[in-house]
């Protein structure tokens, strides 16, 4: 069992949880994830690590309570325990040799983009952080992102906060105004990552995306998380979760992620009846 040391609600559906997991914390690198089971009946879900403290032996995850399993996890409070917490899994993001980066986060993806930005800035890189949200109410981690970036741009779809529009608009403006990025890191919803890649491909800028396909074991055993990268089958859990965004077949990824749409809807309703939720 793994104790929840701290829990914060960041917006109406996004939660931050810090878990007591000293063994997991000791080898973490940015970009890695954990497999989480709230209780013995739960699904195994992959959640990317948002922060960690090796000295305290704690690991922070930030997630959106959007489906049955994440709503169940969000129903747990500080002081309570979760059943399983395994990791760190996946390959760390290759952040070496980047000197001028644009790190882009979409929604809860900002929580995962944050450690990358932090690492890059700490290692002397220029980091433009572009964070996109639907509206003002769901903006998260603004102070943390500001601290981790050379320059932070927040944009909202409806213009209720920051720049009006999508992250891709900001990215394109930055590139055309002469920012010579040597790498773009995009973490967020699949359509956002795809749109970012479409732009960076045009300007021939290396782009790293962090994929979050359906996984079961997270250790390379089930192949459920396979993605098509440059025409080859890759497993996001052991070969990723980061890939060269210009080579990912996003269409196939979206199809594979829709596999359990109906079951997930039913499950969510069931969990909501039991645990409450949105």
């Amino acid at each position: 069992m793994f104790k929840i040391l701290d829990k914060k609600q960041l917006n109406d559906s996004t939660f931050s949880m810090t878990i007591d997991a000293p063994l997991v914390a000791q080898n973490i690198m940015p970009g890695q994830f954990v497999m989480v089971m709230t209780d013995e009946n739960s699904e195994r879900i992959p959640l990317t690590i948002a922060d960690f403290d090796k000295t305290a032996g704690s690991v922070t995850i930030i997630f959106q309570a959007i489906g049955g399993s994440t709503i169940k996890l969000a129903s747990k409070n500080a002081g309570e325990e979760i059943a399983h917490f395994a990791g760190p899994l996946g390959m760390p993001t290759e952040l070496e040799n980047i000197s001028n980066a644009c790190v882009i986060g979409g929604g809860v993806g900002c929580a995962i983009a944050l450690p990358q930005a932090k690492w890059l800035k700490n290692h002397g890189a220029n980091v433009d952080l572009v964070a996109g949200f639907r509206n003002k109410d769901i903006v998260i981690l603004e102070d943390e992102m500001k601290a981790a970036a050379t320059e932070l741009t927040i944009c909202t779809d409806d213009g209720s906060y920051g720049v009006k529009g999508f992250v891709t608009g900001v990215l394109k403006d930055n590139i055309t105004s002469g920012k010579n990025y040597d790498c773009v890191i995009a973490i967020g919803p699949v359509p956002m990552m795809k749109a970012v890649c479409d732009i960076t491909k045009e300007f021939d800028i290396r782009t790293i995306v962090s994929l979050n396909p359906i996984m079961i074991d997270g250790t390379g055993m089930c192949g459920g998380c396979r993605v098509n990268v440059d025409g080859k089958v890759k497993f996001a859990c052991v070969d990723g979760p980061d890939f060269d965004g210009h080579k990912v077949d996003f269409k196939e990824l979206m199809i594979r992620n829709s596999m359990y749409r109906n079951q997930e809807k039913e499950h969510k309703e069931h969990i909501c009846r039991m645990y409450g939720g949105k």
Binding site: L23, V24, Q26, N27, M37, N41, S42, E43, R44, G68, S69, K72, A83, H84, F85, A86, G87, P88, L89, I216, D217, T219, G220, M221, C222, G223, G224, R226, V227, N228, V233, F235, V238, D249, K251, E252, M254, I255, R256, S258, M259, Y260, N262, Q263, E264, H267, I271
Partner: protein, 459 residues
Amino acid sequence: MYNKQEFKTPMPHQEPDIRNKNFSEVSTGYSLEDAVNEANRCLNCKTKPCMNGCPVNVDIPDFINFIKDGDIESAYRKIKEKNFLPAVCGRVCPQENQCEKLCVRGIKNESVGIGRLERFCADWARENGVETETLPRQSSNHKVAVIGAGPAGLTCAGVLAQAGIEVEIFESLNKAGGVLSYGIPEFRLPKSIVRYEVENLEKLGVKIHTDVVVGRTVTIPQLENMGFEAFFIGSGAGLPSFMGIEGEGLAGVFSANEFLTRANLMECYKEDKDTPAPKLEKVVVVGGGNVAMDAARVAKRMGSDVSIIYRRGIEQMPARKEEIHHAQEEGIHFLTLNNPVRVIGDENGFVKQIECVKMELTEPDASGRRGVKVMDGSEFLMDVDGVIMAIGTSPNPLLKATINGIEVNRRGGFVVDDNMRTSIPNIWAGGDAVTGSATVIEAMGAGQKAAKSILEYFT
């Protein structure tokens, strides 16, 4: 005088039309009377040929003799001297290729049902609370880490613990058992039995840590710093293979590992479990091994109409005859001498059809093996909404990538010597991590052999 009955005493079982709708065990096990009757078919050969077929060298005629006398407890203890998981082996070992293959009774009639008797003893002992786990009289101050809580690792840990070694097992999944938990379905191996065997091991003082991915959560050098002197890697086969045909990325195409893990480890077919169960009407399973049979029979129980597609003939299927027979009885269609060439999706990317070709066997080559070739113009379409690929696995690259200088073979399996020792002096390996997909008992044999070698290393 022995029992001259020509055939094995029949195994009581659930009727096919009933069992293909539930996950309860197919074979319900011998009664005491059945067991004594079957035991009396054993000739008690002086040379004990059957023992040569047992990878862990169980004293087969000796345990059968105890059954003849009705002394089941002694029979069980006799088995346990060599086999740490008798309730498991009695169910899933391919005895027809091992002990029973060498049984003298098998020359003219059916061999003695050694597996059935082993299972009977183990079940009887469990139901009657027979304790065999005794802590070793003296403990050494040596510490061994076992990586992977599957059949190889559990056996290795058991042998070491009984010799007084301090053993800790590190398992990446949320439950111990390895393939016994995630792979083999409930109706062939009830999970309560796996739990019972794991608990027995814990009674010997073995500590099992789940949720620890060695190579990621901790590395072998870190474990060395924690005081572990020797290591046994039983990390299993790992990465599932795909055919490399068009459409394998569609929604509704699974590896057998994924499909079985959802069902067996995560129990997705149960109401109170959160893991989504694939809802499929018409499923094809590609492959002819035991894993293909398991996947097909699970899919059947989850309500699908199921066909197995195999590119060779039924005689060439690597699955156990018994499993093929059970699958046929349960209403699974066998499309042998067929091979998929492409999976076709609907407008949303969900599987809609599979295109196959018919195959024909070629004349035997110099080695007597018959190949297959595609029949020209034999393409045909089948309407399906699920495709399960059960065509094998390759060893998981995760662990070996984190052990500096360890030698692996062309397929990625660990290279070991006759004592299961790898190219690194304090690391042993066994089971599918070495051989690629093989059997539970072979993995157990490897675990036992490695444990003996580790004990020598400490002396």
